[in-house]
Each structure stands twice: as C-alpha cells, then as structure tokens.
Subunit: 254 residues, 2 copies
C-alpha cells in the first residue's frame, strides 16, 4: 500500500529524491497494538513518528484521572513533534487502533535542516497548520456548547478522512469510546452520550456500533457554525520565496 504522503506535500512539492529520503524511514516502521502507548509523558525524546496506518490520540494528564486529548491523529500525520522542545515528552501517544509508525530520529531531523531546506520549510509550515488546528480546538472548547463541539469534531474528522481517502459512503468507523470523546471535548462521558443521542435523533448523524454516517452535512455545519480555515497549500511556499534546497530545481517551475 502507498504510504500516506499527502500531509508531506501539502505545502511543498516533493522531488524524487525527497521521496527516497522519506521512504528510507518507512523501512524502520513499528507496529503497536490498539490501546497501547507509543510514547508516554515523561519518556525520553528520541525522535518523532510518522503515522503510516491507524489512529492515534495524543493527550496530556492533569491531576488525578483528568486527562485532555489534544488531537486525534490520522494516517499521514507526524506525531510527537511538540516534545522536541522539551527535555522529556510532554504528551502521551496512545494507539486508538492497531497502528504502524515509522521513527524519525532527532539527528536525522537536524540533518534535514541543512541538507534539505525544502523539506524543512514543509515541516515548518505543517507545524504552523497544526498550531492553527490547536487554536481552533481551543476556541471550540472555550466558547462552544457540547453540541457544537461534537458537531465540529465530527466535521473536522470527516474532512480530514476525506483528504486521506479513508471515507466510504459519507461514513467512517470511529474507533473512539465515549470516554475518549469526553476527554477530547472536555465534557463527561455521560454527557457525550446524551449529546450524541441528540445529534442522532435530530437526523444529523446515524450511529451503528462504532460507525458514524453524516446524514445531514449542511445541518451539521449549521450546528457547528464555524468556518474552517482556508489553508495556503503551495501558495505559502512560494510566498516564502520558494527556497529550493540543495540546488534541486523546483519541479513546479517546468
């Protein structure tokens, strides 16, 4: 199966040699079973992870029991990057399904900044996009009701799954328990259940054993009532002066 590179080239065009570089990391891939941790808060930071298959939740613990899921990662995402700025990992990466990740060690990252500025810029912009996503989450959780948050999450998930080519018939399998959703949305599991029920009974979604079907996309958007940000794609890269990197010509120029 073709590894999910759509996130890598969303801001920067990939050359053949770029792909070769990335493919080398894919060789060092690790499998982790559902429910297990890829890395825990406080663990040593040896690198970052590229998610090849499966879903991952990255979360932070608060006092006793309370935890906040910060992001649900899909195939193609880079995991554990924020912890690069910490002396010990600040987030727990939990496999929500069986997953395959490839490891990118720290020194390889450092080398990339010198040898391949193009990819470095891509990674940099990708991180900024993640920051925007975090700011969005913060806004929802800070200023929206439980119904709005849940609707917004389902919509976000749906669009990201589409981008990765992982939806079938406007529906998708949701491998999160209601406890997970609660930790993600900042509400209790009980209230997740009631809120899901409301969305279901109002005809916006249909649920059947872990599978979600968006029955009324426009209606759901009206509930969430937030315009998703428009990303810049390669436009951002050209805005930065298209730093081509190690003298490889821009493949888009020809």
């Amino acid at each position: 199966m073709q590894p999910p590179y759509h996130r890598l080239e969303e801001f920067v065009p990939l050359t053949g040699s770029d792909e070769g570089l990335v493919r080398r990391f894919a060789a060092s891939s690790r499998k982790i079973h559902r429910g297990h941790a890829i890395r825990r808060e406080g663990d040593h930071v040896g690198g970052i992870f590229f998610l090849m298959e499966g879903w991952v939740a990255s979360s932070m613990m608060l006092r006793e029991g309370r935890r906040q899921i910060v992001k649900v990662h899909l195939p193609g995402d880079m995991l554990g990057m924020p912890s690069l700025s910490l002396s010990r990992a600040g987030e727990t990466l939990e496999a929500l399904t069986d997953v395959v990740v490839s490891v990118i060690p720290c020194p390889a990252l450092g080398r990339m900044f010198i040898e391949n500025p193009r990819l470095a810029v891509g990674l940099f912009l990708s991180t900024q996009k993640e920051r925007v996503a975090l700011m969005q989450s913060l806004s929802w959780i800070g200023a929206a009701s439980a119904l709005e948050r849940l609707a917004a999450f389902l919509l976000d998930l749906h669009s990201r799954l589409n981008a990765a080519g992982l939806t079938r018939a406007d529906g998708f399998d949701l491998p999160l328990t209601q406890q997970h959703l609660a930790d993600l949305l900042g509400i209790t599991p009980v209230h997740v259940n009631r809120t899901l029920k409301r969305l279901d009974q109002a005809g916006y979604v249909q649920r059947s054993r872990g599978r979600i079907v968006i029955a009324d996309l426009a209606g759901l958007r009206a509930v969430a009532a937030n315009a998703p940000p428009r990303f810049a794609d390669h436009e951002a890269w050209t805005r930065l002066g298209s730093p081509s990197g190690n003298h490889i010509p821009d493949p888009r120029a020809g």
Copy 2:
C-alpha cells in the same frame, strides 16, 4: 533599550552575525496604540512580527460576539506565525498596551531556511514550544474549573514576565480588562470578577487598579495544580545534531 532577544536564543546559541541579521529587522519597527489591531482575521499575510515592547493578544472569532483569546504575547514573542500556513490571516492581533513590533517579511523567512539553518532550527523549536503552551491551555480550559484556570494563567504570566525581566516585587501590571480575561479563560466577565475576588479574599493575590501582586505563590500553585513542562533549552539543539549553519563554528564548542 536592549531588544528582548531571550526568546530567540532559548534553543539555539546566537552568533554575532545572527544578531546583526535580527537587528536589521528591528530598524523597520512599527508603533501601534493600545486597543488597535496589528493584523485582523482575513487580512493579507505579508510576514510575521517580532514584539519589541508591550503586550499583544491573539484571538479568533467565533459566531457573533464570541471570541477566544488564544495567547497573551509578551516582549520577545513572535506574532502571527500560524497564519503562514493560511492564505488569509486566521487570528487577530490586538495591542493590549502601546506596542512596538518589527516586521519580518515572508521572503526573508524563506531565505533564512537556506542561509541560516541554525536560526531556522531555533524558530522551529520555538514553534514547538508554543504548541506545547497551546496544548497546556487546551487542557486547562477543557478540564479545569474557573478558579484553576485563572490561577494557572496568573502563574504562567508571572513566570514569563520573570523570564523577560519585567516583574517588580513579585507583582506586575495587568493591562487586561476582565472582558479580556473572560475571552481568554472561556468564562463570562461576571464570573471572572467573582473568581478574582475569591483568589483575593483567600489571600493568594492582591489587586489594586490593574496591578497584581502574587501574595502566596505556593498556595496559588496548589490551586492551579499543574506542573509546568520542563523545556529543553540548548539540549534540544544538540539533540538535533547541532546543525551549525553556513559553516559558522558552534560558539558553545570552544
């Protein structure tokens, strides 16, 4: 006055020529008066800003009226970076006091990735640190009470002001209205007031016309009950293989 470079060299040692580069941007500085916007949601993204003096709030609008303040910036911070990944600015940058910012245009950023990988790595790690801060905020707002959030914010502010050398006698001027605090913490202005009153009457802080004094640091920490993350400083840089950039020797090696 010495420009606040402490955030620039927190992860990467600055060489003399680095400082020269940065100082050139300082020349193109702009003054903005309190209450005015540096950049609005939807504006053209021409670059990023380096905050020389004053406080800035970056916020996102939700539906009519509701807004979420995502971060309060202090001197030394870089502003508006997330919007690099968007075709139009996704955040509003509002001056909370009279401020001075210098502009770093997009092409200059792109050039830096080629000509000065060292600074690029520093900026990259700095962005990861901001991401961790965002994840922290998300956790507080999602899983903590109003009292805990407020305590955590005041503590965070206090420690960042200390790092910038901007506190006097364990106190600081807080140029935020209670409306600002409300938009930041995700509660109503009315409840901000009641919560501040509780912190005051319990002896944790003292308030007097916009000035905050931390009266009981340990007590306030116990209320917030969150361990701040330990950042990696130059450790992260060495972990990445210390990419020195354009053949300038590592000043820390000698």
